[in-house]
């Protein structure tokens, strides 16, 4: 009995001592913190390191590996000897694999009776071990999808970064001779419009270092327009030249000069230039207006903070009305909307601007601020006014210089609520600040597809009742709008749903397997400033019950988005808008 007790006590003590040993003490590996380790750039946002993706692709493509495409189960009692690679789907291991297991854009589940004897590399998925499953060997797992595609031969290739629409039809080459670097560029103007068609831009950029860590750049570009002007009001060829010197270290600052002759849009909205181009080409709808802008000027800039740029500029420009041409489009046989006349003349432009940008990304920001403000004073001694209704504008002065001031503000903030929710806010607006009435080319409007997507195009353009204008010219002095949106990120899971070759095409279009559900609301108002009927006093903004309000929902695949919006005032008319970039 004593002996038996002694054995029992010994066993119990051994068990309890084993229990008492901290689990951490059983670890036989260490993490090395090496101060000499190189920085790992771009790790946070770019998903799996490209080296891991390359390694995974190489393993999958290895002719000795067992390649699996789509979900597969290694049954209980089954043994696979050698490396196994799987692309898309779920690999369930209830049997045994003796070799490396590589999973791309899929999940590896080690079942209760499963054994993997070899290194596991999962890119774009997860490695789950159920109780009883056994894994010996290293393990690396990266959740973000691997940017790969499957070729017709069954092998994988790393997918190139999707080009932006603006990068299409763009070629460039760079060569260096001594300290002089030369880049030759041939590209489209990143748009397509009803005035000049497709502008094709070509020319060199020279850059060379200067003392005190400076750099000088000279851009020389010629612009070839595919549409000729039926009225000879504009030149067939345009050009753009720019000289700039910049100090690149310490306090960054620089000076520059420009000389150009280009077709310039009147307003910076709606839509981006690339979106305008596709809309014009595909749908035959060009939502901007244009004029020819020719002249020269100089500017100086500085970065007092890394995120803050301030700039002052003076230009001497000749602004000329240009008519719409007849470029081809795929869908709309109707005549193009006329391009409105502007107030032709020579203008001297004094401009001060500041831009603050602390966003974490330019195209798809999730945090930070963006603010841009500009003030312009423009004068002209030979303006030739376009005819506008008296309700819109008092006559421009004669016998003295014409001059006016204009202010523009655009403030955006991007806030992260948690790992999948974001709230973004924007205030944008401005217009006439003082002096004589604005010329046509500086007037504004609101409504349609961008800032107020629930409303029709230029719903607020300040045209007096009964005024017929097929060009739908923007006539307002001022506009102000607020936009708010909440974005909820979610995983699409299309890969699991499809699991076939169709996903390849979709993946090329959509890219990441994640999207945002967007809930948004906007409010805005454009108005005529001054005294008189239909105008708002210069020191006031319109009453809130006169504003336009809309709300809607959307689905945004990192830039390729569809939104459904409806006005909250007036009639209930939902409108669908497709976008190729974020709303703001």
């Amino acid at each position: 009995m004593r002996r038996a007790d002694g054995q029992t006590v010994g066993l119990a003590v051994a068990v309890l001592l084993a229990l008492a040993v901290p689990a951490s003490a059983q670890q036989d590996t260490v993490n090395v913190i090496d101060p000499a380790a190189p920085p790992a750039t771009g790790l946070w946002r770019s998903g799996a390191p490209i080296e891991a993706v390359q390694e995974a692709v190489a393993r999958y493509n290895d002719s000795t590996a067992t390649r699996l495409y789509g979900s597969f189960t290694v049954g209980s009692g089954t043994t696979i000897r050698g490396d196994v690679g799987m692309y898309r789907g779920t690999l369930r291991v209830n049997g045994r694999i003796t070799g490396r297991v590589t999973i791309l854009n899929g999940t590896l589940i080690l079942g209760p009776t499963g054994t993997v004897e070899g290194e596991v590399l999962v890119v774009g998925g997860r490695f789950l071990t159920q109780p009883g499953g056994t894994h010996t060997g290293g393990m690396r797992s990266y959740a973000d999808p691997a940017p790969v595609i499957r070729t017709t031969t069954g092998l994988l290739e790393i997918r190139e970064e999707p080009v932006t629409l603006g990068d299409l039809a763009r070629a460039r080459t760079t060569f260096t001779a001594g300290k002089l670097s030369t880049e030759l560029v041939l590209e489209t103007g990143r748009t397509y419009n009803r005035v000049e068609g497709l502008p094709i831009i070509a020319g060199p950029t020279f850059s060379f270092p200067t003392p005190s860590d400076g750099e000088t750049k000279i851009d020389l570009r010629g612009i070839l327009r595919t549409e000729s002007d039926p009225t000879d009001q504009r030149a067939e060829l345009g050009f753009r030249t720019r000289f700039e010197w910049q100090k690149r270290s310490g306090l960054r600052y620089g000076i520059g000069g420009t000389w150009s002759q280009e077709i310039t849009p009147i307003e910076d909205q709606p839509f981006s230039l690339a979106e305008i181009g596709w809309s014009t080409f595909l749908l035959g709808r060009d939502y901007r207006d244009y004029y020819q802008d020719e002249g020269f000027g100089g500017y100086a800039f500085a970065y007092p903070l890394r995120s803050l740029r301030v700039e002052g500029a003076i230009d001497y420009r000749e602004r000329t009305s240009v008519p719409a041409s007849d470029p081809v489009n795929l869908a709309n046989p109707d005549p193009w909307r006329p391009n409105p006349l502007v107030d032709d003349g020579h203008y001297t432009v004094f401009r001060g601007a500041a831009e603050f940008d602390s966003r974490n990304a330019t195209r798809t920001p999730t945090s930070g601020w963006f603010a841009r403000a500009s003030v312009e004073r423009q004068t002209s001694s030979d303006v030739a006014p376009a005819a506008l209704p008296a309700e819109v504008r008092d006559p421009l002065p004669t016998g003295r210089d014409y001059r006016f001031y204009k202010l523009w503000l655009d403030v955006r903030t991007y806030a992260r609520i948690n790992t999948y929710a974001r709230v973004n806010l924007r205030m944008v607006g401005g217009g006439w600040l003082g002096g004589d009435p604005l010329p046509v080319q500086e007037r504004v409007a609101l409504g349609g597809y961008d800032i107020l997507p629930g409303y029709q195009f230029r719903d607020q353009r300040c045209a007096p009742a009964g005024y017929t204008d097929p060009a739908l010219t923007a006539l307002c002095d001022r506009s102000l709008a607020f936009q708010a949106e909440a974005r909820f990120r979610f995983r699409l899971g299309l890969r699991e749903w499809l699991g076939t070759g169709e996903w390849v095409l979709l993946e090329r279009l959509v890219g990441a397997d994640q999207a945002d559900v967007v809930v948004f609301g906007d409010m805005g108002k454009a108005w005529l400033a001054g005294e008189g009927p239909g105008r708002v006093p210069s020191n006031r903004i319109p009453k809130l019950n006169e504003w336009a309000y809309d709300a809607g929902v959307g689905l945004d695949f990192d830039g390729l988005a569809v939104y459904l919006a409806t006005p909250l005032t007036g009639s209930w008319e939902p409108r669908l808008t497709f976008r190729l970039q974020r709303r703001f």
């Binding site: 951490s24 995120s307 602390s358 992260r416």
Partner: protein, 213 residues
């Protein structure tokens, strides 16, 4: 048999349990001498970091954990105060990513992220965090040395997460004190601090050892 039951009871009471009572610790030890140089390096561990409910719950509530380490090499001097020979700091940021149901661990120092690891389960993360961190610094010469280490464990505020993301993305991170919202940020941090988000500073010191060859 009674003695056995008593022993079992006592042993069970003495055995560490993975419950809410466990607190994270900081252990500082000295590595074995390197084969070629004989140099010894600091080894830092934070046992039970995820057995400490404060940190586990914070992590599971999507608050990232930031472990801000500082390791110092001290040379013992008999006639005066000990001399600080070298110090090295790094941060380990651990975050739960609910969207993909994974945990990410990022190690940063010298103004750059140095490594990112992802873990499919809390157990894998815990296994990694329990591992010893061998810091690749060593005394420069002979004499008697010891290492000291400290770790400041905090959860990050949301603003700090964004700041870190900007930092990791290579975007400029400006001095928070110069930001217009510095007062607001400070107030929010204080609110979070007093609102219950835990913070803990631990310090440790290794035994003395002979440095160099």
């Amino acid at each position: 048999m009674r003695r056995l039951l008593l022993l079992v009871t006592l042993a069970l009471a003495a055995a560490p349990r993975a419950d809410a009572q466990q607190r994270v610790r900081l252990e500082v030890t000295v590595s074995e001498p390197a084969a070629e140089t004989g140099q010894r390096r600091p080894v830092v561990r934070t046992p039970d970091i995820l057995r400490d409910q404060r940190w586990l719950e914070s992590l599971q509530n999507s608050f990232p954990l930031r472990l801000q380490f500082r390791v110092e090499i001290w040379r013992v001097r008999t006639d005066w105060f000990d001399a600080l020979e070298r110090a090295f700091e790094w941060e380990t940021v651990v975050q739960y990513e609910p969207l993909v149901d994974q945990y990410a661990k990022t190690v940063l120092f010298g103004g750059s992220p140095r490594s990112v690891q992802r873990f499919a389960s809390l157990q894998e993360l815990e296994r990694d965090l329990e591992r010893a961190n061998v810091v690749n610094i060593a005394p420069a010469g002979g004499g008697e040395y010891y290492f000291t280490a400290s770790v400041l464990i905090r959860t990050l505020t949301d603003e700090e997460v964004e700041e870190m993301e900007r930092f990791l993305a290579g975007e400029p991170v400006t001095d928070a004190a110069q930001q217009p919202g510095a007062v607001k940020r400070t107030a929010r941090r204080l609110l979070l601090r007093f609102g219950g988000l835990p913070t803990e500073q631990l310090e440790g010191r290794s035994p003395r050892f002979a440095g160099g060859r």
